[in-house]
Subunit: 413 residues, 2 copies
């Protein structure tokens, strides 16, 4: 335990993965299947999770990674070239900053920030150290999201006016059983009322809307409903004595937020995870020439669609398929969450290796993660609009469109 | 012109209709087809519209109504028992109050208020005179909306948590050609930025949510996008010299509002009439047991629908059809806007005649119409939440569910 076992460091990128809960153990097989990297170290506070990680490596015919419970030890290993963080939401920034300060490029799983200051610290540490970091927002690499990005760039929607996104996912069981399953979501829902999970929807929209590159989020107003869903589920499934049946949950069942952008577009963002419903990311992209809506899988483009009638989006998907989705193999697509997990990991690994620009950078990360504390503030103030910090310190005005890179979102090398 | 021609006043209710624009001339044939009323007088500021109204009466084999350009003369006619107002939005309250003060029950077409004070005046005039008034919100009588009301009352959705509604209707041509077509929408879009047309979606939701009867709207936060759609349409279709191509429109293309209710539910309201898109009222009803969404015509009810999968709403429509839609004849349904225009007119006429409670009363009207000035205020203040007045002066806490009446929404006599 704890020793670096990598043999062939020169040829392969050494990865340290920190956090082996559900997401970490889901990511590990994708990494283990890549020939140009070696999972050199794994880390979790719980020994049983670490053991599962090691077993996955052995099952994949790879060398057992070094094992740790202290993330600092992973970061300090010579054989670890970069860090992937799959821990609980609230620990992402702390671990990210430790990695940046050690000069190790780092990528983190998605989640909202706890405070605005944390977002600023992340930006300043990244700027000061010059070490790149990236958020692994897999939905930016979703097949539909990438096709929509192509369509927006080619002007299919005209000038963008209004967009919507959501995280609508029935997570009542995950929250209610959170304590016994060691899932941090429970404690967040117990104590916080805001959009704690904004990036799956907002990340792809931010890319469409050129956020931090000619546009920025200016203000947000949020509103929460009463809290009912977790209690009711817990009472029915876990009994009226279970702690999830009796404690007060601060989190409203549905949280809606309106975001104003500098160029005059608005975004409606929804967090809806405590009620029974089919999954949706509630997408809508609306411009001067047409509109796409996720929930009916349809699109309307003036002059192309039949007058006043929806068309299936599938036809447009084929036409505007992103090059990355055209060239990757079916096996890769099927590896996790429809392939987007694979693509976002490759974007991080290959661009770090090539010292290229990362397609989701620290300014993206800070402004997306800031939605969580900002929405909490707005709700606490009775839906008062609160201002977004400009994490670029004014550079958003002149920052150009993302440069082409391997696995780039706009243009792929 | 101007003389009362009714012969058989004892048997029939005499109606005066004020305003013969598109909506008035659309309503007139429905009234002319009813055997128990007589259209005794018609009124408009434009003679050509009045002439069209008279022609419609003659074509229907009815006596020519008396004709006026001054609505006060219609109201003062002995042969006019009640008033129907189908004028421009901003003139509704003034004409309504004139009718109430003359002791004539009055119904008005839909639209938002210009000021909060106007809403208060309407409430105070109605209370003081004891003369009933009603908003002809036809969508409260829509087939889907009424089935949903039945479902909510029977607990199908559990406790309501979050609802959505919208007026999503491509009206670019109507606005851009508003001056030449004498349509007031033009001037409203030129000068106002808010949700100027909230009631088609909000009226039915207010009924589901017991607004003013155990619940009330507490606050609203609104946000508007930039304004692009009317200009672009006008330039393309009317030329770059046309006034609609050059003036500034205050109205944002998409206006979203979040409304908080006293019982803890939230409502998302959208006004989206300046961009190309198919029509929708953007409905969503979400409770602790399930969710209905208009845009995919689907519903999910926990324990009834297949796990995590949408079901067609049509199956539920059949089961929960409102009694009014079960018993009315197909001919009536087809008469206008799918029958809901007929139903809302009958609700007014029959309940006024029977001196019964009107299913949409002055408190409903005031709180729905108030959304317009409140949303304008919120937008002007950068999406600040603004408080709803309590037009019931606290009576909402103990006001009971609407009493059964002929053409009642909850229960029909």
């Amino acid at each position: 335990m704890g020793l670096c076992t990598m043999k062939s460091k020169k040829d392969k990128t050494g990865i340290g993965i920190i956090g082996l809960g559900e997401r970490g153990l889901g990511t590990l097989p994708l990494l283990l299947a890549m020939d140009d990297i070696e999972v050199a170290a794994v880390c979790d506070l719980y020994e049983d999770r670490v053991a599962k990680g090691v077993q996955l490596a052995i099952d994949a015919g790879k060398a057992a990674p070094a094992c740790f419970s202290d993330y600092n030890q992973v970061i300090s290993l010579d054989c670890v070239d970069c860090i992937i963080i799959t821990t609980s939401w609230t620990s992402h920034p702390e671990i990210l900053m430790a990695a940046l300060n050690a000069g190790k490029p780092a990528a983190t799983e998605v989640g909202g920030a706890s405070s605005l200051n944390e977002c600023w610290d992340l930006v300043r540490n990244c700027e000061r150290t010059g070490t790149p970091c990236m958020m692994l927002e897999n939905c930016c690499y979703g097949r539909e999201e990438m096709a929509l990005l192509q369509m927006v760039r080619q002007g299919v929607f005209g000038e963008l006016i209004h967009c919507r996104c959501a995280y609508e996912h029935d997570l009542r069981e995950q929250v209610a059983r959170g304590v016994e399953n060691r899932h941090y979501r429970f404690h967040n829902y117990q104590h916080r009322n805001g959009d704690v999970y904004p990036t799956h929807g907002l990340g792809p929209l931010a890319k469409l809307l050129d956020i931090n590159r000619g546009n920025r989020f200016v203000s947000i107003s949020s509103m929460a409903t009463k809290s009912r869903g977790i209690h009711l589920w817990a009472r029915e499934h876990l009994g009226s004595d279970h702690h999830s049946s009796v404690i007060d949950f601060a989190m409203g069942d549905v949280v809606t937020s309106m975001i104003k952008c500098a160029r005059g577009e608005t975004i409606l963002l929804t967090h809806d995870t405590s009620l029974p419903r089919p999954y949706s990311r509630g997408g809508r992209v609306q411009g001067t020439k047409g509109i796409w809506i996720e929930d009916n899988a349809s699109i309307y483009i003036e002059g192309k669609s039949p007058l006043d009638a929806w068309e299936p989006f599938s036809r447009y998907m084929e036409k505007y398929e992103h090059p990355l989705w055209q060239k990757s193999s079916i096996q890769e697509y099927c590896a996790g969450h429809g392939g987007m997990d694979y693509l976002v990991l490759r974007a991080f690994i290959e661009n770090v290796r090539d010292k290229s620009i990362l397609p989701i950078d620290v300014y993206d990360m800070a402004s997306w993660m800031a939605v969580t504390p900002l929405s909490e503030q707005s709700i606490a103030l009775g839906s008062m609009p609160v201002p977004f910090p400009d994490f670029t310190d004014g550079k958003w005005i002149n920052r150009k469109e993302e440069a082409p890179s391997k696995y780039g979102l706009n243009k792929t090398l």
